[in-house]
Symmetry: C2
Subunit: 448 residues, 2 copies
Amino acid sequence: MNTADLRLPVDVPSTALFTDHYELTMLQAALKAGTAERRSVFEVFTRRLPNGRRYGVVAGTGRVLDAVENFRFDADVLDFLRERRIVDEPTLRWLADYRFTGDIWGYPEGEVYFPGSPIMRVEGSFGECVLLETVILSILNHDSAIAAAASRMSSAAGDRPLIEMGARRTHELAAVAASRAAYVGGFASTSDLAAGFRYNIPTVGTSAHAFTLLHDSERDAFRAQVASLGRDTTLLVDTYDVAEAVRAAVEVAGPELGAVRIDSGDLLLVAHRVRQQLDELGARDTKIVVTSDLDEYAIASLAAAPVDAYGVGTQLVTGSGHPTCSMVYKLVARAESADPQAPLKPVAKRSTGGKFSLGGRKWAARRLDQDGIAEAEVVGTGEVPPELVDRRLLVQLVKAGEVVGREPLDVARARHQAARANLPLSATQLSRGEPVIPTEYVQGRPGN
Amino acid sequence: MNTADLRLPVDVPSTALFTDHYELTMLQAALKAGTAERRSVFEVFTRRLPNGRRYGVVAGTGRVLDAVENFRFDADVLDFLRERRIVDEPTLRWLADYRFTGDIWGYPEGEVYFPGSPIMRVEGSFGECVLLETVILSILNHDSAIAAAASRMSSAAGDRPLIEMGARRTHELAAVAASRAAYVGGFASTSDLAAGFRYNIPTVGTSAHAFTLLHDSERDAFRAQVASLGRDTTLLVDTYDVAEAVRAAVEVAGPELGAVRIDSGDLLLVAHRVRQQLDELGARDTKIVVTSDLDEYAIASLAAAPVDAYGVGTQLVTGSGHPTCSMVYKLVARAESADPQAPLKPVAKRSTGGKFSLGGRKWAARRLDQDGIAEAEVVGTGEVPPELVDRRLLVQLVKAGEVVGREPLDVARARHQAARANLPLSATQLSRGEPVIPTEYVQGRPGN
């Protein structure tokens, strides 16, 4: 696939530079030792959810597939590695031919996860797999953190639409990924044009205080906006005095005014007053959009207020207190020799300081109760117990180097809604708690 | 300047998409109303520092200059805006010719800042300035948050070098900007190859547990690493048993072993034991590198431990609890007509909900006491008092659309060290406190 077909707002000729220095020096040492070709299994998982969170949300899977496909060491990159003496000539030659030729399995995007869930499994030679560590973790750790926050906000918002408005609060390209992850987590639209361009997410906009201040009066500003954008526009009503602004807004646009936006003050109180005023002015269909440092708790507190949509910025793009997940990429099994037929041996770091890892190539399944509600995340090695075969969570994403798991973003979005709906009700409580279902480990006979 | 000269790891054909939808619709309405050409002044500032922080660090300025230079609406972008009906045809024609032709002044990169500091000032027509809001804030809010965390960590680390290792914990391109900001804030090097490629920051690497687990024994892994990378390499010693690993490391590499890395456990205790063991084995010059969820407090707590370098990941790239700044981009003055000679009129949103803004085009200066230590951030409109003329903080970055403020990253890094050294000593206390100097506002006679 040509990356130009992706209509990237920034063209990424190669994602191979999104790699830590040590991945390449480990490769060099393993090439020399003859161990780089050992068949290996790496898994992405997290040992814990952010403090108090009840479930995680897998996001970024589609971006991982793009990154793996674009992972190439072109001449520019090789020149850099040579000039900086990062690796030796045999390693540079190996890198020049690099294509990922292995398999990737993973939780499909939008699925929920729990501590220990093997969110992604990368299989191939040690050399080809170890190089992907940094970029895979960057994407999954960032995007899943945003999606988890988005999911909490969308369950707090109920049927009211959420607008992602956080571009200005995070790195300009992280913002594009954040819009995408927010959409997976349940947001309806974004302010970020790059996200609209790249991922076809609906974009929306209102106006800023600067627009009001540019004009000689608030009424002039409203007239200018309505004349150009139509009566269906959203007028910002809190630059000077809200009540005066609402009166002017309806005078200028008529009762067909699309919406008003409130960006400051006690939103609960102001929304009630504005709703009453709009109704008295006959603008019964004019909607109220609120913005102003909202998070899932503020959204929940406005559930009974006459609010029609929420715009969320800072707290969304910073993961509402948890801007990253603690996903790691660990070698869990590897062959005992470079022979492609050599059996895989489970491996794990021996715990020091509480960092526990379970060795072995793993499967995962979600056990449901008789009502179809999740009751446990079951993670195991070896054969899958027959009663769980239909509940397996990992799907194939890359097969012998070919991406086979690409899907439209709306599919991931719908999957998330369905997956969350199958969790016990307490999953969507905002208060701190334990993971809503436990993770059980089973060690089966070799197989699978 | 050709963007290819920048050796971008990702080629950015245009930064114009890093823009919120409403910037374009406001432009459309202002073009129709005849107000888009009104001369305008926007300022970037923050109303407060993150809770308990004593100073902020300006970072990202150089990236803002790149973004402004690349801010163009090419055919692809215009097609997108047309197809999605985001703006009308007259606006599309205006955008097709877009080049920023105004002036930008700002605090130079690496400088410290306080609440109210006018960190950047953008002057030109309303239309050309309003479009830059989102991308300027994205860059400054992200990069300054990272630099502030880096600065605290580097003052806690004293003379010991800090290695930025957070790429896997944040968006893959945010990681590159984070390495850059960390370097400005005092870090010595990065693990991120893209940051080395793009910004010439020194890259370093050790090895991962996966490398040890790949081999049949820890000793095999150490032999493979030393054989390929030399005795000066850093061996990871906490995969199984630290004391055994240290013994094996020195046996394999000899007392010339470069360093060992400890990534888990009670770092204070383990570092002391490892130092003693290394010394007993004659490896007196072998260094100890520690990593494992370090932040500025953990670094400070290791001040008396025999540690030679710190690797910092998660807490650096997430701003150590504050992943974004609360910088805003506000219209502070604008002409009363489109006449280029029309005088500027200060404007400000009237406060509701505690959002206070001071109108008018501002200067800033740092008043020093007789020992040359900062005692106040002075922000004013109108003429600069004579005693502060030499202490002015804003420098010209863009003049009539031409970038004039580009500088090497090492200059910003050195500036930060100097600026921090001129703050009162309590600036570098890690405990929560007030901004280390107050911000004073003065309203002068018109002028400047």
